[in-house]
Every structure is written in C-alpha cells, then in structure tokens.
Subunit: 211 residues, 2 copies
DNA sequence: AGCATTGTTGATCGTGTGATCAACAAGAGG
DNA sequence: CCTCTTGTTGATCACACGATCAACAATGCT
C-alpha cells in the first residue's frame, strides 16, 4: 500500500514531458478552474517536482494562457465541425444555438468566465481571450452571411449581429453556471430572440418545425 | 512632505469605523476588483492596521460577499428607480435595455463577472450572487408582465423570458468588458432580439420610433 | 566500462495571504 | 487627576505562491 511508490519520475523526452504537463494543466483547469493552475498543483498531477513544470514553461501566466486557448479552441472546432453537416443557414444557426445551450459544456463556460477576469492581470491571457472570441464570432458571422445570401435572413451588419449572438450565448451560459436550476427551454427562447435579430421567420430556427 | 503624518489612527466609534471599512472596500472593489479586497489593502485605504479590519469582520469572505451585495444592490435600485418614471411597458423595457448597455457601469459588470467565478470558492458570496440575480430577474419580470397585461407583449412564461433577457444583458456587458471596441449599436440589436422574444412589434422598443 | 549529456529534484528565497493576540494608548467617567 | 474601558496596533504564525539553481542521476554514446 504505497501511494507514490517510485521516488523519482522516470526520464522522458522533452516533447513527451511537455505534453504531459500541458495535458495535466488542461484537465486541472477543466476540473478546478484556471486559478488552480499553480506550479505545485500541476507538478503533483504529473507526478514530478514543481521545478520541472517551471522548467518547461517561461512562467505560469503563459501556461494559464495556453491552457485556456487549448480548451476553448477545441470546443470551437468541435462545434464548427457539427455545423458543416447541416444543409442550410437556418438549420445551422438553430443547431448552434441549441448545441451551445445544452449545458453539456459548463466546464468550458467556467473557464471562459474565469478568463475574462484573470485577463485583467494577465495580458497574455487577455490576448488569448480576444483571439478566441474572434474565432467564435467568425463562426457566427459565417452562418449569418450565408443566411443573408440565401434570403433566409435579412441583416445589414452581419458582423455586429454575430457579436451580439455570441454575447447572448455567453451570458446565458454564464447564468446557467450559477443558476443551473433556472429555466429549461432556454434554447427556444434564444432561438426566438435570434430570429428577431436576423429577421428570420418566427420558428424557422427551431430544430423541429412541426410535429 | 509626509505621506501619512499621523502615526496612530484616531479613535472612532465602532459604527463609524465599520462604515469606513465597508466604504473603503466598496471603492477598492470598484477600482481593482473583488480579488483586491485583502486585509492589508483595505486597511491601508482606511489608514489603519490590518488587524483592525479583521477585528470588524468575521473573515474576508464575508467582506467580499457584503461588498458585492452593496455595490450590485445599489445599481439595481438605481435603475429600477429610473424605470418608474416611464409610462408604459414598452418604454420601460426599452429604457432597461438601453440603460444597461450604455457602458457607463462597466465597473459593476466586472464585479459581476468576478463574483461568478469567486463564488465557486466562497459559498457566502455564491448565495449573495443568487440573491442579487433574483432581484434583477424580478425587475425584468415585472416589466414583462405589465406588457402582457397591456397587450403590448405576448409572453407565455414571463419568468423564463425575464431570466433570458437578464442573461443576454449580462453576456453583452461582459463582452464589452473585454472587447470595448466592438459593436456600437448594441442597444438596437438587443432591442430587436427582445422584441422577438416578447412578441412585440418590430421597433416598438427603440426609444425614438421615428425621426 | 567509463564518460558526457541532460532530464530531474527539492531546498530556498521573497512575497503575499488570512488570522490571532498580547500590548498599547486614547478617551470617558469618577 | 486618576482609572478603567476599549479601540487600535503590529508583530507573528502557518500557509501558498512563482521563481531560481546547485546538485543529482538516468540515459546514450564512445
């Protein structure tokens, strides 16, 4: 019955060790937040001395920033991938709204909210946050522009509307973080709101038009 | 040229001193965030020893929590006061959306966002957050219900829609915190979205119907 | 087998945090 | 003027943080 039997961590290649550290940071952040990313916490998770983590990172701000980027970028790509399987702009926008509000990614939402405040003291992180927000906005903007071209939507400023939808989604998710018990049919309400913004027909964004 | 000439702070009544401390905490939080509320920070601002702050507070979590409640409750009451001066539901809802997105309360928004994450480790704060969110939701719900009664709106679940609007406003404000340069006519876009949700006529929420 | 490279350790420093408490002194009441 | 209450101090403790670096040892190479 020994908790950590091996006294010394076995030697690994720098690439492998670096990957271990970033992976441990990723898991830790998802479980306990970006603020839990301390030298000693990450080191303990990997099973190495704290100094080793410091050796593979310029400083902790950088690790926090890159961990945030890793987690969030993965989510963006995952959802963007789902999008491409849908036929038209209305279906895509409906899927976006529905997917992002299904409460299955609350851990990532927590990371977002944390990054917004931590970015005040971590300029590297702040830059990452802006970058990842831009990526999300582009996803929305693409769908809105498609709908404009098709005639499904009627939007004068697609970029602005994309920012707007993104902000709404973020806010509703952040709210779910604190008030998990709140409203259930958030997707439907948001769909209706988005319809109002993009000038789409009422109900055109709901996944199942009619039973 | 002496920065702090008096060596010892002059004796004051407990009530007065307690008020000084909570006021200093309030200012500090608005300037540097809830995380800046440390024993030594607050004490330095009041001009007393750190032990005195601890003497007037059960622990720092409580001070953080009460400071949050003070700041946010003041904002709620202020905006709710503005509301009562407007004639109908449409005007009131339009004013709400417009006022909350005018970027004049970004410091309070920063406090909100910080509280969402700090609430994970500070249960007292988490309770305060839920309480203050409820207060805001009630403000929105009241307006929506009025509009329902008047016939200006057509909403089946006023409570749910109120939560929804609140979440949207929070999200857009949080976004403005990071992307201050973003979109300018956020109020107009949100008004259109809210119109979609409450079933109001397009443009009925914009403050100036037509020039 | 011996050596050189280099991944790894862990103690250490300086700073910051909340909390505690014996000692102090300002002010009020006698 | 003295005394006692009590507001106030600041040193102190235990802990956690990021960062640094001399010492160590595992591994590959000759």
């Amino acid at each position: 019955m020994s908790s950590t039997p091996q006294k010394r961590a076995l030697r690994k290649s720098p690439e492998e060790r670096a990957a271990e550290i970033t992976e441990a940071a990723r898991e830790l952040a998802l479980e306990a937040g970006l603020m839990a990313l301390t030298l000693r916490n990450v080191a303990a998770r990997v099973g190495v001395a704290s100094g080793l983590v410091a050796h593979y990172q310029p400083n902790m701000d950088a690790l926090v920033s890159s961990t945030f980027a890793t987690i969030v970028a993965a989510e963006t790509q995952e959802v963007a991938g789902l999008l491409s399987q849908r036929p038209g702009p209305s279906e895509r926008l409906g899927l976006l709204v529905d997917t992002l509000l299904d409460n299955s990614r609350l851990d990532v939402t927590a990371i977002w909210v944390e990054a917004w405040t931590l970015g005040r003291r971590n300029e590297t992180l702040a830059a990452s946050v802006r970058e990842q927000m831009d990526a999300w906005q582009k996803v929305f903007q693409g769908v809105v522009e498609d709908g404009n071209a098709t005639g499904a939507f009627n939007v004068s400023d697609a970029a602005a509307v994309a920012w707007q939808i993104l902000g709404m989604v973020d806010g509703l998710n952040a709210q779910a973080l604190v008030r998990w018990d709140g409203v259930n049919d958030r997707g439907t309400h948001l769909a209706r709101a988005v319809e109002g913004m993009v000038g789409a027909a009422r109900g055109s964004l709901t996944p199942k038009p009619s039973a």
